[in-house]
Amino acid sequence: MADAGAEAPHPPHGAIGGVVLRQRFGWRWLAAFAAAVAGSLLFVYATVVLVVRGVGVWGTNIPHVWGFDIINYAWWIGIANAASLMAAAFTVRRAPWRSALNRFAESVALFSVICAGLFPILHLGRPWLFHWVFPYPATFGVWPQFRSPLVWDFFTILTHLVVTASFWYVGLIPDLAHLRDRARGALARKVFGVLALGWRGSARHWRNHQRAYHTLAGLLVAMAVFMQSTVSTEFAVTLVPEWHQPRYPLYFVVSGLISGIGMVLVVALLARHFFELHGFITQRHLDVVSSLLIANAIVIAWSYAFEAFSSWYASKVELQSWLLRATGEFAWLYWGAVACAVLAPQVLWWRRMRRNVAALILVGLLVAVGIWLDRFMIVVGGLLGDYLPSAWEGYSPSVWEWPLLVGSIAVYGTLILLFLRFVPVIPVFEVHAGRRDEDGDEARDEDGDRSGEDDR
């Protein structure tokens, strides 16, 4: 991998495209890939057990009818939405430094939404009938019930998958053409050629491409917010005291956002390390992402505080419910979420931390963990103080729920590893264009750390 950069220090085309075109799989990649595939097989196994034996293999019960299934779903969809939002917002704002992060964000979004989309199907008592949620002219007259947030959710996931995939793919077309042009093998040329959709780089192509790309980005900004809010309605429209709260849509957007940013940061830093992309992912990017993390963490802190206030303000039931969540059996989840999602990003106020790759990766992972704990606390903790104390019951995940979490992360890892290997991880054309633009901006870039690039 180190040789990728070494062989072609300039121009960047060589560096990025080379990763894809020269299929020299390092042992580290292979080891990671093998581990990820093994984890994915575990996921498949857990799914087979689930389908053969029934959802009873989980630790779910009445009232905790949802466990890891919905926790994982809410977590992944949050990451997906946030990463989409991040990529789209950068694109719409035409942020000059965005190009290095964009494709990571898009890919994280796409792969997360794939992981997320599995859970709503797997969590069903009779998963083979999931298509009944879709309005189709069934001869036996089954028809969705459009007042249900699960139907909204179904469309949300579908829309998300289509739009994110389109955004990712449209952004990829010029690069696919680039790969087609530089590929040596006949097969690679053919495959990239088909995928490039006949891109020749004419001015008209560029104009249409930019229009399509920006239109999708604009759509995605609106939809990411909208879709993440929809996920929150799954909880907010219910009667459950801890769920039935107006803060939920905003809260889901913000908490999802931070986990998505954290995840993009982790993937980008790992790629930078292993593919020597220091020239593309610079300290400036890390500073921007750090600021976003800090800002988000502050909003989440506010959200937690508001929740405490509104529970106290709303009713005795909600206050009892909140207290159970913050001090009861699952209090460690609550405080774990606070520590990971609110406090951990605060270390990024220090410049030293922002420059420390290990610290950044740790914060990124902690944030992701924190939001997972937060989702656990919402799905499980929300029901702890339900209306009838007689129905209060504990929940603990069974041995068949953990493989689903670990396995879905492995599926995600597999997809990311394949992405790193087969797709230009940074938009070649944008870096190229960006470099031209930024040459003029260099003077304004206060913290511009271009050394990594200049050294070469």
């Binding site: 009818v65 069903l124 008592g125 699960l150 009667l239």
Partner: protein
């Protein structure tokens, strides 16, 4: 059958050749049901499979008798039903089920020859149309997988029992029955009593004794002390205005529960004459839960309390033992006079009963609230003394033959008698048992006992009324009833039906018999057989019994029958095992019940293992903290820790193993120490208090008069204010964004009278049986996956040392604005045209979202394929109710199948459905008529009238779910503040 047996003995007992005692029996069973045998050693999943194996058994029940063995007798069904019988329509048979020897009248609903449901027999005095939980579950025992189906011989041997029985009869006759002891359960049956009497006439040397580990003999012995003769005591709580229960549980399980419950609630419906209940008890009981004034006292204090009451009323001279009665008690009793009643329980010694009898006599209560009749149970010696005498005789070698009929002394006798070992020492022992139980395992021969639903017979209700037993289905070949065995031993070969009929032929006037017999078969009760009341007066030699000395120092132990498995006889019934015990809400287990304060002192928490040492015997068991339990004593529920039985074995601990014959009910000198082990106990209710919420409302009696004066609407508010601190706006006043429904026909609704609920669980199990609800096993319940559609929430209120106890049956509320409906993505739960919130099972994809949005948490989910894996043999299933598949949600339907049935009938007759025509399963089973169901659009319907009560309120109605099931607040008569101080 018997004549044919004579002709072809090898045909009748052909399976015996394969059987060489215990091991052989197991091998036989293994061969026939290999899965079943393998399953026994393992956990829940296997248990369920095992229950499923009953299907195989049940499936063969119909072809049980091969043509060559077929009896000549037809099964006689309810007169008049068969000629007009439409295939597919159920038949109902009137019969009786035994409990402690007493009969409980029931109607058995039978579909195509399969009993599927049991209802109360309105003509029977111990039922009045309702049932207890045990009766509801009787159907499952019929299909118990480990029921004996052939004779067994311990340790092998190739003799044919048929020859043996005939031989036996001859042998017995030859030496006058020398050394023969007949040990039965309690017997009230006139025909069986007569049968045994004639056997004993034939065999003058033989002796008969009765044994029940939880018998109520002390009450009769008390009567013997007080009145000079053993008399039955029956309470009429409906006429009582002051009830004082001293360690007694008249509302708890037992043969009198249904009648007592109905009577007690009848005396508390009208606020103008509202009875007041005082309870002194150690372990909270159903009676204690309804007490207006409850005092947790050690059982050691009971004799002194009884004596103090007697002394205060001038029955005995006051004792100088420093016992102080609570203020107001004696005044209450004096004021009520004949309308007062004092009662003591089975744990109380005869001396206490004697005092209580004398007190009732002095109050003038005898004849109004207390009735004495001659004993219902046969006069043969009974109780621990009789059993101890038997043990002594066995030791002396005086017993050469022992015949045990429907009793299990090897399991449930006091430990010091060690009957298991002693029975084995008897040269010849014969046991008639339904399972290979502990006693059967020790006996030389075991014969299979027919289930009560397969038997001809008769049983007396507690008031003496005879209820007939008639079979609802043919017994498996080879099984016999107690009556048949006794007849065979006396040399008679008549089948049970002939024996019963023959007995009653003599009892009726000649010429009228046929008509009377048919009517009896139809009604299930023999008219005019209730016992006459016997006037009593104190025996001339009546002396004040000496106070009973307290035994030993240290912790006091009291034994109690278990509310779910009684003395252990129902331990093989999965429905009863999974029935949450009313106060602890434990299932599939018993535990040492202990006061929270005492547990804290000993460093014990729920589920902690503890070693209990009692006079040299010890057991290890989990403890369970029971608020309201008296301090410094523990309760050991009996009936668990079986060593035999596929379902029962290994569940809970055996309290009989520390029970002593000298102190069978209350023992002292126990030591309880933490064992360091943890036990998994499954409970259906983890949280016991209302955390200050307004869930169960109650109104003090004193306030009720004021409410009535205020009138309906305002009264409702008052009821609410009284219970909860902040009553929010009632549902009807809140706006909703969803349109109102329009009802052209009936709209169903229910009112549950919390004032009538005694928490007896009959409705829970009735619902389970009616609606094909599976039992899921202990591990699944521990995970929070019990399937009961109807549960009874129990809440503690106030001081854990002496809390108030509330029961609240919770079933689907059928909300008018149902939160479950709007969140289902596939329209699987919808509102129907009659207001029901219906569940469309085959549309459900199992998102479980509906359960999340149900504030009452009444929805149940099929996490596994419970219906198919067993839980319930399919043959017992109600054919009118769908079996639910894995992955679908289910819940209470208001017994929609019963509504449909009524609707079809009404349409055939071209009329609207009448009020009261639809009776839900819970409503039908309830002894106290706590449920009212009907059309709420009809202002004249019973349910509309109930809902018009100022006591009516909706659970969580502030959520605007507009529940169709509403509650009537409980009326309480708490001590006035000045009285309490």
């Amino acid at each position: 059958m018997t004549e044919r047996d004579e002709d072809r003995p090898e045909a009748t007992w052909r399976s015996l050749e394969a059987l060489d005692g215990d091991a052989g029996a197991l091998r036989w069973r293994d061969g026939e049901f290999p899965d079943l045998a393998r399953a026994t050693a393992t956990g829940r999943r296997s248990l369920l499979k095992l229950m499923g194996a009953s299907v195989a058994l049940a499936g063969t029940a119909g072809c049980e008798r091969l043509p060559a063995e077929a009896p000549a007798d037809p099964i006689v069904s309810r007169a008049g039903a068969t000629p007009g019988h439409v295939p597919g329509e159920p038949l109902f048979f009137a019969t009786s089920l035994p409990l402690e020897g007493y009969g409980r009248g029931v109607l058995v609903e039978s579909h195509e020859g399969r009993p599927t449901k049991i209802e109360g027999n309105p003509l029977h005095p111990a039922s009045l149309g309702a049932t207890d939980a045990f009766a509801q579950a009787a159907i499952l025992s019929l299909y118990a997988p480990d029921r004996l189906r052939a004779a067994l011989r311990r340790g092998g041997g190739r003799r044919r029992l048929d020859g043996t029985l005939a031989q036996l009869a001859a042998e017995f006759a030859a030496d006058g029955g020398a050394g023969l002891r007949l040990l039965t359960g309690p017997v009230s049956s006139p025909s069986l009593t007569a049968g045994i009497a004639s056997l004993l006439d034939r065999l003058p040397e033989a002796r008969w004794l009765q044994w029940s580990p939880v018998g109520d003999g002390n009450r009769l012995d008390g009567a013997a002390l007080a009145f000079g003769e053993r008399l039955e005591t029956r309470l009429d709580l409906a006429r009582a205005s002051v009830i004082v229960a001293i360690d007694d549980d008249p509302l708890g399980p037992g043969p009198n529960q249904v009648a007592n419950g109905a009577g007690f609630i009848a005396g508390r419906r009208d606020p103008a004459r509202f009875s007041r209940l005082w309870v002194f008890e150690a372990c909270p009981s159903l009676t204690g839960a309804r007490a207006d004034r409850r005092f947790p006292v050690s059982p050691r204090a009971v004799p002194a309390i009884a004596r103090a009451v007697a002394a205060a009323l001038g029955v005995v001279p006051p004792a100088d033992d420093g016992v102080e009665l609570p203020p107001g008690l004696v005044e209450d009793l004096r004021r009520a006079g004949p309308a007062a009643v004092v009662t003591a329980g089975r744990r109380a010694p005869p001396e206490v009963h004697a005092l209580v009898h004398a007190v009732n006599l002095a109050l003038g209560a005898v004849g109004t609230t207390v009735h004495h009749t001659r004993p219902v149970l046969a006069g043969a010696p009974s109780g621990v003394a009789a059993l101890a005498a038997l043990a002594a005789e066995i030791d002396a070698g005086a017993v050469s033959r022992l015949v045990v009929i429907d009793a299990n002394p090897a399991y449930d006798a006091p430990a010091d008698l060690d009957l298991a070992r002693r029975i084995r020492r008897v040269p010849f022992s014969l046991c008639l048992a339904s399972r290979l139980d502990e006693t059967a395992a020790e006996c030389l021969w075991t014969l299979p006992l027919a289930h009560p639903l397969e038997s001809w017979g008769d049983l007396r209700a507690p008031n003496g009324t005879v209820g007939l037993m008639q079979p609802a289905l043919a017994p498996p070949a080879g099984t016999m009833t107690a009556l048949e065995l006794v007849a065979r031993l006396a040399g008679s070969e008549a089948p049970a039906r002939e024996l019963v009929r023959g007995y009653w032929e003599q009892a009726f006037p000649p010429g009228e018999f046929e008509a009377a017999w048919l009517r009896t078969l139809h009604d299930g009760v023999v008219e005019g057989t209730a016992f006459e009341e016997i006037p009593v007066r104190l025996a001339p030699g009546w002396e004040v019994p000496p106070p009973v000395p307290a035994q030993g120092e240290g912790l006091t132990v009291l034994f109690a029958p278990d509310p779910s498995v009684w003395d252990g006889q129902f331990a093989d019934n999965a429905w009863l095992q999974e029935l949450p015990k009313p106060l602890t809400k434990l299932v599939w287990d018993n535990a040492i019940l202990i006061a929270p304060a005492t547990a804290a002192r000993l460093g014990l928490a729920n589920g902690d293992g503890a070693v209990l040492e009692l006079h040299g015997r010890a057991l290890e068991a989990p403890v369970w903290l029971l608020p309201g339990h008296a301090p410094d004593c523990v309760t050991l529920p009996l009936g668990y820790g079986h060593r035999r039985g596929d379902v029962a074995r290994g569940l809970g601990f055996d309290a009989y193993s520390v029970r002593r014959s000298e102190a069978p009910w209350v023992d002292g000198g126990a030591v309880l120490q933490p064992s360091g082990r943890r036990h998994l106990l499954a409970t259906t209710q983890d949280h016991g208090t209302m955390v200050g919420r307004d869930l169960v409302r109650s109104v003090p009696l004193a306030r009720l008069a004021a409410m009535a004066a205020l009138g309906g609407e305002a009264g409702g508010e008052a009821a609410g204010e009284e219970a909860g601190e902040e009553t929010e706006v009632a549902g009807e006043d809140l706006p909703s964004i969803y349109p109102e429904y329009d009802y052209s026909g009936p709209a169903w609704g229910m009112a549950v009278d919390l004032n009538a609920c005694i928490g007896c669980n009959a409705c829970v199990i009735a619902c389970q049986v009616e609606n094909n609800v599976p039992a899921v096993g202990k591990e699944e319940v521990a995970r929070g996956r019990e399937m009961h559609w109807l549960r009874i929430d129990r809440y503690w209120e106030g001081d854990p040392a002496d809390p108030r106890i509330h029961f609240q049956p919770v079933l689907c509320m059928h909300c008018e604005k149902a939160p479950c409906e709007v969140v289902c993505p596939v329209n699987a739960t919808v509102h129907d045209s009659e207001g029901l919130n219906v569940m469309v099972y085959n549309r459900c994809i199992g998102t479980r979202y509906c359960s999340n949005n149900c504030p009452y948490k009444v929805r149940r989910f099929n996490w596994f394929d419970y219906a198919d894996e067993g839980g319930r043999p399919e043959v017992t299933a109600n054919p009118d109710v769908t079996l639910r598949e894995r992955g679908v949600m289910e819940k209470c339907t208001y017994c929609v199948q019963r509504i449909q049935k009524a609707r079809i009938q009404a349409k055939l007759e071209d009329r609207p459905i009448a009020d009261g025509e639809v009776v839900t399963a819970c409503q039908q089973a309830c002894p106290t008529r706590a449920f009212t169901f009907g059309d709420i659009t009809d202002p004249a319907s019973a349910v509309s009238r109930a809902k018009a009560s100022p006591l009516n309120y909706g659970l969580l109605e502030e959520l605007n779910t507009r529940p169709r099931t509403t509650y009537l607040a409980r009326i309480d008569d708490p001590p006035a503040p000045e009285e309490a101080s």
